[in-house]
Every structure is written in C-alpha cells, then in structure tokens.
Amino acid sequence: MNLINLLRRRGSAPVARERLQVLLAHERANRGHSDLLAVLREEIVAVIARHVTVDRDNVMVRMDRGNTVSTLEIDIEIPHNAAALLARA
C-alpha cells in the first residue's frame, strides 16, 4: 500500500497534465465556438424533441480542438421510458 502511494506521489505531474488537457479542451471549446455550440445545441435538442422527450439539462454538446482535427461530441441522456419507445420504433 505504501509502495502504491509512493508511486502515485511520484506520478503527480502526469495527473496534472491529463487534468489540464481535459479542462482546457473544454474551456477552449466554450471560448472559440460559444455561439456555434449554442446554435447546434438548440437545433439538436429540437430534432430529438420531435421524437422523444429529453431533459434539456441532460444534453451536452462539446467541441475538442486538436492539432489536425476537431471533434464534436454530443451526449444526450434519454430517460428510460423514452429509450424503450425508441427501441420499439
């Protein structure tokens, strides 16, 4: 157990690096594309809402800016009963 703690302590820089990468990807996305993301979010929610009821708070639209490509990540939480409806349809 002590050994694990020791190893963990030695490795605090990689943890710092990873936390920063995740955080800054998020902050940059919000900074650079705040308008675009807001529009995308609204339109995506509207399309989904035509078929299933979704809670607006459970829709996450995120953009990660990389060196060569950027990724658009859309994460929508669909309530259980709505998921069942989707599966049937």
């Binding site: 030695r10 710092a16 920063l20 990468q21 900074r31 060196n67």
Partner: protein, 271 residues
Amino acid sequence: MAKVVVVTSGKGGVGKTTTTAALGAALAQSGQKVALIDFDVGLRNLDLVMGAERRVVYDLINVVQGVAKLQQALIKDKRIDTLWLLPASQTRDKDALTEDGVARVIAELRESHDWVLCDSPAGIERGATLAMRFADTAVIVTNPEVSSVRDSDRIIGLLDAKTEKAEKGQRVDKHILITRYDGARAARGEMLSIEDVLEILSTPLLGIIPESQEVLRASNLGAPVTLSDPASGPARAYLDAARRLKGETVPMAIPGDKKRLLDRLFGRRAA
C-alpha cells in the same frame, strides 16, 4: 520603430515584473533603446524591482491624462543609459487608463525606442487588456503548475481575440517563458515538464528560467537579475531569452541538468 512586447500571464506571482525588468535590462545591455511601462496601476512594483522607487515624479496616468509630458515621466536607469521606465500610478485605479491615452503613449515610445516592454497586471481586467492591446509580441510567463498553465491558456485566447493586431486579422507573436523551473523535480515527475507545458499550450518557448535564490536577491537589491549577477542561472537564461526575442537562434539550456550532474558528483548535497 520599436517592437511592443507585453509581458503577461493571467495568474499573479509568476514573475511578470521580474521578467520585464530582466528582459528589458538584457535588451538594453546589448545596446538597444528600451522603455519599460508598468501597467499595474494601484499596485506598481516595477519601480521597486528596478531600484527606481525614490525617483518617481510623474506616472503613466499623468501622461495618459496630459498632466505631464512623456519625457517628464520617463525615469532613466542609472546603470544602463539606454533603459527607461514609465512607472504606474500608485494612488489611482485602473479605470483612469483610457485606450486612447495608452495608444498615444505607446505610439510616442515607438518612435524613440527599439523596444517597449509592457508589464501587465495579473488578471484579465482593464489593466491587463490595455497592456496587451497594442502589442506586436507577447511573452507569456508560466510556472510549471496547473493553475498558471490554465491562466496562460486563457491569456493566449485573449491575445488572439482582444488585441489590435487580432482585430486587424493579424497575429500577436506569442512566446512562453517558463519561470521557477526546477529540473530535478520535473525529472522526478513531481512538476510538469517543459514538454508538457509546451504541448498543452502549443506555443513556442522563449526560455526557461530556473528557480533560484538569485531572483529574490536581485529584487531585494532593486536591480534586474541580469545586472545583479550576470553569471547566475536565471540571468543567463534571461540574457538568452532576450537574444531569442531579437530573432537570434540560441540553443535552449535546460536548467537542472548541470545541477544534477553536480549532485551526483558531490553525493546529492542540498544546494
């Protein structure tokens, strides 16, 4: 026609004022005409670090508001005769700075100097945005530590959006200056490495200033570290960084390598 450089960071206490003094002195030591402007209105310190605190008569706000002429407010350094300081006001607040006034001061300094170094206050408020507003080049002072790196990233975003150059569709030339770097701790994985910081911020490196007691000693004495002890680690790193700023190619020395070797030779005695 001077190049205007903003020394900025977002986070406080990372070494902006130390860096402005040392880089400015280093450039002036090479014969260039350098003006340093303290933008930290209300919390001025560049005068103290430069050892000119008892010679302040007029300040940036006086010049911005037309109370004093620029030539009356500029303090000529007693050690290097191509180095001048324009102190901030200690009694006013940052709202007294106007964009037009700052533009006028910088335009005038551009005519008479080779370099204008703007020492930004911490934060992203008026003082900081006006310090970067007319910059051609930015030196982003960063400690290898999460909060400093995050704030540097935010400042990079502002440099790309809120400067006059950015609004004209041009780019401010950005450089990272890593300060308080401890090579031994980075090697042990206790501190973010140079590569980590540069990769995260994807901005080129201007220099690496080692953590050193000499920096505190220099500010105690009121002398830029490049003057108080030119042979010390931080002074050499600042002198190299100043040459890179002038466009010279200078190999990057990673502080700590030599120390580690000495540690090995002398049985890891504490410095």
